[in-house]
């Protein structure tokens, strides 16, 4: 597969994952803001912005509707949902021949919807509906991707992009939420803490899954364990890293070259770290540091993939 094509598929997938993540987090945050006693709207907004990786130009100005509008519709703002959808479509357009017609039509529909009068007027009555529409559209795209695209290298690059973006975003989210989670007392009967904890889980569509594993008895240790270390839940970091590893292994298997040890080792190290560390050990140590390491390792894996599959030097390729 052409390196440029792999690059575009990878970023198409990352941008869609990003759009979905942003949409869901904004939705959760706006719904939490309805309960004003727990925390101020400003602090919640700041937490949201931090969890999105601290993009510029989203400082709290008191007008939630306008800010939410920016975060969803401002196609010039790099953190906005529309920006991510546009970028995903632009990437898809550049590899139009590699993806299936169904995928393209699905993505195109989402793109046109984001730019339609319908979405704008919907946002005035209910931003939650708009965000649900975005998440739906992306879910449909993923379903169509899995059922209509050949599961070759391109598909694995899509999976790679999805899981790398997800692992990174979830680690950022946990890093931002984690101090708050541990500053407040463990038991709080007012119900506000419960709302916050459910909010965190919902940011990762994890609430129902959590309940299936641990019942609705929410504790911060379990929440952290679930989102970090669960091996069966698709939004957990451990699951995502496993997804990264599977995608890279599959890409290697379909290719003829042996990948650099550094890449295999980098992914193996992150995978092992999550496999062989218990939640007790993480909590006993520096949790923030642990989460930060995950992000750093994700970035490193991204760089290695780039220098090996996408931007390799001609001279080294000719030498083979």
């Amino acid at each position: 597969m052409l390196s440029r094509v792999a690059d575009s598929l990878y970023w198409m997938s990352r941008y869609l994952e990003r759009a979905e993540n942003t949409a869901r987090q904004l939705d959760v945050t706006m719904s939490l803001m309805l309960d004003t006693a727990g925390a101020s709207a400003e602090s919640r907004w700041k937490r949201l912005v931090a969890a999105l990786g601290d993009p510029q130009g989203l400082d709290w100005n008191g007008d939630l509707d306008a800010m939410a509008y920016t975060l969803v519709f401002d196609s010039l703002h790099p953190a906005s949902v529309t920006f991510a959808v546009n970028a995903a479509r632009e990437n898809a357009r550049q590899v139009r021949e590699e993806i299936s017609t169904e995928q393209w039509q699905r993505l195109n529909r989402l793109y046109h919807h984001m730019h339609s009068q319908l979405a704008l007027s919907q946002s005035r009555s209910s931003m939650a509906d708009v965000l649900a529409g975005v998440v739906d559209g992306i879910h449909l795209f993923k379903g169509v991707t899995d059922t209509t695209m050949i599961h070759g290298q391109g598909w694995h690059f899509i999976r790679l992009g999805r899981y790398l973006e997800r692992a990174y975003a979830t680690a950022t989210l946990l890093e931002v939420f984690q101090p708050e989670l541990f500053q407040t007392p463990e038991r709080d009967d007012s119900g506000y803490q419960y709302l916050e904890q459910v909010g965190l889980l919902r940011c990762c569509t994890a609430f129902e899954a959590y309940c299936q594993v641990y019942t609705a008895d929410l504790t911060r240790d379990r929440i952290l364990e679930f989102l970090l270390l669960n091996r069966d839940f698709p939004h957990a970091i451990r699951y995502s890293v496993d997804g990264i590893r599977q995608a890279v292994t599959a890409i290697q298997r379909t290719g003829a070259r042996r990948p650099p040890d550094e890449l295999t080792a980098g992914i193996g190290r992150l995978h092992a770290m999550l496999d062989y560390t218990s939640i007790g050990e993480i909590l006993a140590g520096d949790t923030a540091r642990f989460l930060h390491t995950i992000r750093e390792q994700c970035l490193r894996i991204h760089e290695l993939i780039y220098s090996y599959y996408i931007h390799y030097s001609i001279q080294s390729a000719l030498a083979v």
């Binding site: 597969m1 052409l2 390196s3 440029r4 094509v5 792999a6 632009e90 357009r93 550049q94 590899v95 139009r96 021949e97 590699e98 017609t101 393209w104 039509q105 195109n108 529909r109 046109h112 290298q153 890409i251 290719g255 003829a256 070259r257 599959y309 996408i310 390799y312 001609i314 390729a317 000719l318 083979v320």
Partner: protein, 488 residues
């Protein structure tokens, strides 16, 4: 109105005007042409709402499929759907037969001409075509002199523009021998049409065109360099900002070949490679949708980043086939066009089956004087341009535009030709809830590998604006599906 129509048909036509121009659907006296009868009756039977519903669903289908083109020179809204008219244009088996023979003859002769001009130059020595005219052509590429082209095929993919004149005969307006586009619209129109009017389509017995990508692939494969039995074939696109990008992706997907950009290619030791996730992979055949000028900065325009440095040398060495060959624009130069009937006679010893449009060469003193005196009746075209750019349409021009062109013609007569304003045929289009006549042309697509192959039909382009003669998509044109009927 004429007798014999159901009353609904008359209603549909309203005050549909007929004049001396050939109408595709109706005889001069207003009766329906035989082969259009079933279409007109089907339309007349459909309730107006149903017709509009089908029109909308067809348009929506173009939008969600992303069948769009890019218009240059506009900041916003540059991506547009290609306007589409719901009614098919019908061509009888007999008419098609003549077109097919005519085009085969023409393309064969033009290919021989290119080969001759870039090797011995017999036709120039025999003074059938002036040497000066060939060498002054903007698209003449001296780098091609003496270069052996695989199977002697210079023009593997051609789209020629035909018009139908008032006597019902088809004539050739121009040949597109560089990178003709539009074939994806032909295929998309057919797909949408089959969905919009399934029963009508079935009842008509229309010859299929859907196998075009397969034919194209076979053509490209037949041109692979010697000793490459499993050639790696790619389509080279200028990239996503090109107006025909949709078509490039479409064809690549339909053929199952890689769509590459210049930046995906590297050359080493006169071999072209593409960068893949698996390292470098050798490229054998390039279906080139990038103009000559932008293909190789070492040989052509040095400031272009769209092509691949070293491509031409690899081509010259015979390690890669690039098609169409470089320098083929020579033979679709609008001044050389006037010589095509003579070229056909010279190489094939036959008369041209499809006539040319009368063309004035402005390098000829007498013809130039005639043209300058009659600018308001004529169409003036720059010889090296395409897509409807650089044109003066006399009857629709202002005195100022005519002065401007007169000055340019005097300054550089070689750069222009003039033709009479053509009253070419019109076909009915659905405008609002009525049928109205609009000017149409026809661009069949010709493939030339082992042999000449033309899928029956092509793209019928429509000048959607009332009275307009310009059918180019970049200038507000649209298109129709073209049905070539099986012989009865």
């Amino acid at each position: 109105m004429s007798p014999g129509h159901p009353v609904e048909v008359d209603k549909l036509f309203g005050d549909y005007p007929l004049d001396h121009a050939f109408d595709e659907m109706r005889e001069a006296d207003g009766t329906l042409r035989q082969h259009y009868r079933a279409l007109a009756e089907t339309l007349a039977r459909l309730p107006q709402e149903e017709l509009q519903r089908r029109k909308q669903s067809a348009e929506l289908s173009f939008l969600t499929q992303g069948i769009t083109f890019t218009v240059y020179g506009r900041e916003e809204g540059t991506e547009r759907i290609f306007p589409y008219d719901l009614l098919p244009r019908l061509i009888t088996a007999q008419e098609w037969n003549r077109i097919e023979r005519g085009l085969t003859q023409r393309i064969t002769a033009l290919n021989l001409f290119l080969r001759d001009v870039y090797s011995e130059g017999k036709i120039l020595n025999d003074r059938v075509v002036p040497r000066e005219l060939v060498h002054s052509c903007k698209h003449f590429r001296r780098q091609m002199r003496g270069l052996q082209v695989p199977r002697n095929v210079y023009i593997a993919v051609v789209g020629s523009d035909l018009l139908r004149m008032d006597n019902g005969e088809f004539v050739v307006l121009e040949d597109n021998l560089r990178v003709p586009s539009g074939v994806s619209y032909m295929l998309a129109n057919r797909r949408v049409m089959k969905r919009t009017f399934p029963q009508l389509f079935q009842s008509y017995g229309v010859r299929p065109i859907e196998h075009y990508p397969q034919l194209l692939l076979a053509t490209l494969r037949s041109l692979a360099p010697e000793g490459r039995p499993e050639p790696n074939i790619v389509l080279l696109t200028p990239g996503v900002f090109n107006s025909a990008y949709y078509e490039h992706t479409y064809l690549a997907r339909q053929m199952g070949i890689d769509l590459v950009e210049g930046r995906d290619l590297v050359t080493h030791d006169n071999i072209v490679y593409m960068r893949t996730t698996d390292g470098l992979k050798r490229v054998d055949v390039i279906y080139r949708r990038v103009d000559d000028d932008f293909s190789d900065p070492l040989v052509f325009r040095a400031d272009s980043a769209l092509g691949c440095a070293g491509l031409f040398n690899a081509y010259r060495a015979g390690n890669v086939t690039v098609t169409n060959a470089f320098g083929t624009g020579l033979a679709d130069d609008k001044a050389l066009y006037a010589y095509v009937p003579r070229i056909i006679r010279y190489y094939l010893d036959e008369d041209a089956i499809l006539p040319n449009v009368e063309t004035y060469l402005l390098t000829e003193e007498q013809e130039r004087r005639h043209v300058l005196a009659n600018l308001e009746k004529l169409v003036v075209k720059a010889v090296g341009e395409s897509g409807g750019y650089g044109m003066l349409i006399g009857p629709h021009s202002t005195a100022r535009q005519r002065e401007e062109f007169a000055r340019q013609i005097e300054a550089n007569p070689r750069n222009y030709i003039a033709q009479p304003t053509l009253d070419f045929s019109r076909a009915p289009c659905l405008v609002g809830d009525r049928l109205e006549p609009r000017h149409v042309d026809l661009r069949p697509y010709i493939l030339f590998g082992d042999k000449v192959n033309i899928v029956p039909g092509g793209l019928t382009r429509v000048a959607l604006e009332k009275g307009s003669l310009v059918v180019n998509s970049s200038q507000g044109g649209g298109s129709k599906d073209t049905w070539v009927l099986e012989s009865q």
